[in-house]
Symmetry: C2
Subunit: 333 residues, 2 copies
Amino acid sequence: MSSGKRPTIYDVAREAGVATSTVSRALANPERVNTRTREHVREVAERLGYRTNPIARALPSGRTRTMALFVSDVTNPHFFGIIRGAEQQTRAAGCTLILGDTEESGEVESANLDRLSGAVDGFVIAASRMSDKEIRELSARHRLTLISRQVEGVPSVIVDHEDGTRQIMEHLGSLGHTSVVYLAGPRRSWLGARRWQVIAATARRLGMSARRLGPFPPAVRGGGAAADAAIGQGATAAIAHNDLLAIGMLRRFADRGVRVPADISVVGYDDIFGADFCAPPLTTLAGQFDEAGRLAVGLLLRARDGSRSRAADQVVLPSHLVIRGSTGPAVIR
Amino acid sequence: MSSGKRPTIYDVAREAGVATSTVSRALANPERVNTRTREHVREVAERLGYRTNPIARALPSGRTRTMALFVSDVTNPHFFGIIRGAEQQTRAAGCTLILGDTEESGEVESANLDRLSGAVDGFVIAASRMSDKEIRELSARHRLTLISRQVEGVPSVIVDHEDGTRQIMEHLGSLGHTSVVYLAGPRRSWLGARRWQVIAATARRLGMSARRLGPFPPAVRGGGAAADAAIGQGATAAIAHNDLLAIGMLRRFADRGVRVPADISVVGYDDIFGADFCAPPLTTLAGQFDEAGRLAVGLLLRARDGSRSRAADQVVLPSHLVIRGSTGPAVIR
DNA sequence: GAACGAGCGGCAAGCGGTTGCCAAAAGTTG
DNA sequence: CAACTTTTGGCAACCGCTTGCCGCTCGTTC
């Protein structure tokens, strides 16, 4: 009979004395079949240890009940929240999450997309490194939502970094800082570009000087060079592209005997794991990234289930500045 | 023609004037078809923007080119290395990784396994919370490898925590500690049980006293209670189930004015992100977890490609103690 | 009791590939 | 040039499940 193979719908049908269509319906479409038959079929299926084959199910419908999430670096704690949120929401919808690491590269992103297209019901791309044009094109062909990136006509969820960056600048301003540097991350970072605009504009408004340095790798190891560059500029405050970079800088400052915040203040972005217990604890811009992950998947599910109200789906989550020990009054020179 | 739908092998065949089988072979089985035909088919496929549908391809073969990795908590940095390693190895084999969070629960593990069975070619379970019996049963039915867990007859990769735990104990012993506590993690943790055995045995050998406390949630938030319990025991050294718990303890100690390591030494496991920059930096047992992830997937791939040399596949990776500021000479009372 | 309609189950055609088998074509050999 | 071998491409049968459509059964209604 079963001969070691896993039982199929045919086995169940034969055993239960009904047609395969009835089995299929009894399992997936309960109201379409008489209660008695349904229970009988289910009982037989149970007894045989039948599991519906997701692949076979997906073929006719084209729906795999699977979502893909691409992050630029799985080991960056910033993405933990996003990953966890996306995973939760996906699971809540009875679907499965596929995770992909795109290694900070737009090419890898689109290659992955290509490879998985057809195998998943939708894509969430966090911190995409692709150009607006590429994204728009892909969005026309695939179900796609973005995190930490906005492109017209493509659904997205971002944390309000513009307002947040303003908060950072005002915080620094109120501490008497007049000269800040921004330690930039990857050149293709959309967020980075937007932030710098806000920093520059706010600096002008507050009568501060602002310079951008970099790019630096958005990782702890990038912090050494970033710290040295910041000191070289004689800045009294440094805003790092993300917390990893900021933490790397803190270390370098410690090694060089530069005191934080007495000699220089440091601010990061993301409020990652560790930002609260590094030395000194890091002032950083926090956002609910798990919520972002959840919402992004939510948008995807909504899009999947018919309503294609694309354009409207540009969610902006609030951000807030968490002030810790790495920022303090400006040095008097 | 294409009418908006994505082109299938039939479209390509018609356009190229050959049979679908030829298209299939030209694309997947190059040596089976004449160079001229092959190039022609490929050119047409390219022009039409044809992508082979992974679902359809998987149906007859039963191979999805997909691996699943289950971790007990995606937000635990300990798993980053594992995730990254598994992702790399999977990708290197031209496959895709599916990530699942099992929330520290054996039931969720087997539920996920059930749901994904048939949709993936194999499973890697990190830090499984299932019983040996369950694992063995599942391993009979699915292709399965374990990380940080050994079960007879099931392929696995672990980091040598026994030797590592001995290193920890000897380190503490040489610092003059005579009374250590072990702050345990989840009750179902296999690693935890093994470690405690080694701690108890080594303590006996070295003439130290050892007590186990807990269980505590293996997260930073578990550290408060763990720290208080450790102090309540009057221990001079504390070994925490993992670095998260240890970091949580460090915080609590700081809040209570307990000096580390002057008043108490603290050791963790895993050497996670953050262990080197918390205050004080954490002494911890490090292992190459990315390598573990890579190897685990490697075993799976090998098993998939025929050779079912199961029993032999019990890999043990070396571990080493990273000594930092959280351990020091024992207090003289 | 005939006419009608709702409910239920079965038939069979896909979904988009892969692959064993076979025959035609091309190449080789004496 | 015939006989034989090797390539090469096509046919068609799956893989396991879903679903539109059809018809049978049975309960209702007049």
